[in-house]
Symmetry: C2
Subunit: 296 residues, 2 copies
């Protein structure tokens, strides 16, 4: 399979679904504009692509899961908007363009983030989904959204990230904890949601979660390696930011080469969890292995 | 019925439930502390009290609905934390004490608010509720949470409030719109949630929503009247703030006396919606009428 082409195609599907998903909010012109600006700013759409790919692996129609895939990308976007705020990381740029608060002001950016979080829950709990999915599964998905975005997920990770820096004594355990909460929780959520809605059993769901968790941590390490080794021209964003901000990362602790090896090992570990399912999950496995290629 | 005593008793029930509800987060010490600080800072707890009172009116046990009542108070608290931030209203005080960001910093306050919103959805979608409630009803409650907290509720109201001031041309329609979204949406949500979980039919649910909407707008007008006419000693917070901040309120548009009359008419209108249910909703009606007494 040509993974680059697959990613391109699916990104188009997601981008178009994201655009449509905001249309019901269009009358709230300013708020809608700020939400749409950040949501449609670009990005690899890796989380929604993982969600639809996992779901499709069970022979299901990817269109069914698009609203949930979009909702997960909204949670991701909300967290980026809030992270970029002057009261947090104070980043003026995102994906090579002005960040939300630079365009709409900090107050509107704060509210655009808040609104995207609520809207992701609105989309996931829309009663219309009862035509396709069992209510028990829908409730489980919503609960997973809440767990992954909250204290035991995104927000908890951001707090740990904020209070940990390389000035302090950091260790592998702390960094793994931060990466698990801040990055892996949403990547794992995407894959788990695909499994839940496809109706897989508990052990398969657990295997998918473990796959997602290890992939997610690896994904963050690869990001940190690229921040250290790549250039703004190639990456499309400023590099050497972690060093500047004294971020607690694997690269800061172990250097580039060892970090690369850890990322590779995590992908092997991730893939192991899906072995019992033979060739069912070939595409998400290929996607996981593809992420490693970004470091080459 | 002695409404003052009823409110006192129920406030104790809610305060204790709120405290317990955060215990699972205790290991996340700093974030937990910031969330607990604002959530347990006090307040009349009117929203959760309305939820349990509406639910009990159907002869149900109020303990069943406490997690949902707490979750609604968490949404309210999250919105206050974000409103108080320096990038929004820049309020140093809340309920006569330092606001969250004055104690924990703006970054932590932002995240404490974010975490409370996610946690409210986590509580509402907890699979444990399936022992007591139909999954369809639980999904409906979650969807209502999302609608009331998002673009068509709290956040949308805050945006309109932000961009409207008495300097501009304002009219009754705009102010009603702001009050409906910013205040009435959560009060109406509390009452509606009580009805949904008690299993009332669609027309009764609609009547409860309309009651809540009118009560909510009235509640905001009463707040604005008190801001104009009361003193910090009596109200426990600074007064004459709306005038200072040129807020678009009924008082700014019509003056105190006419605003009082409008608040009164809205309560009469609210109560009318519950007439078809004879004496079932006596207590929430008494609570609604009691709110008017605050202006005397």
């Amino acid at each position: 399979m040509d993974i680059t082409k697959y990613l391109e195609e699916k990104k188009k599907v997601i981008d178009s679904a994201l655009e449509s998903s905001l249309i019901p909010l269009k009358e709230h012109s300013i708020l809608y504009a700020a939400m749409a600006y950040s949501l449609l700013l670009g990005g690899k759409r890796i989380r929604p692509i993982l969600a639809i790919t996992t779901y499709s692996a069970s022979g299901k129609n990817e269109a069914d899961i698009l609203p949930f895939a979009c909702a997960i990308e909204m949670i991701h976007t909300y967290s980026l908007i809030h992270d970029d705020l002057p009261i947090m990381d104070n980043s003026d740029e995102r994906r090579g363009k002005s960040s939300c608060h630079k365009v709409y002001g900090s107050d509107m950016a704060l509210l655009a983030g808040d609104a995207l979080l609520s809207y992701s829950f609105e989309m996931a709990s829309n009663p219309i989904h009862r035509n396709l999915f069992d209510e028990k599964l829908l409730l489980e998905v919503v609960n997973n959204f809440a767990l992954s975005s909250g204290v035991k997920g995104l927000v908890g990770g951001q707090v740990m990230d904020m209070i940990s820096s390389v000035d302090e004594e950091i260790n592998e355990e702390t960094i793994t904890y931060i990466d698990r909460l801040k990055t892996a929780s949403l990547i794992s959520l995407a894959i788990r949601t695909g499994g839940i809605l496809a109706g897989v059993n508990e052990s398969e769901k657990l295997a998918l979660s473990r796959f997602g968790e290890n992939l997610g941590i690896s994904y963050q390490i690869i990001d940190d390696v690229l921040d250290e080794t790549s250039s703004p021209e190639i990456l499309g964003k400023e590099t050497q930011q972690d060093k500047k901000n004294k971020k607690a990362t694997f690269v800061a602790l172990f250097g580039v080469e060892k970090s690369k090896n850890i990322a590779q090992e995590l992908i092997l570990k991730a893939v192991d969890f899906l072995k019992p399912y033979n060739n069912k999950y070939t595409t998400i496995i290929e996607l996981a292995e593809f992420t490693l290629g970004r470091m080459k």
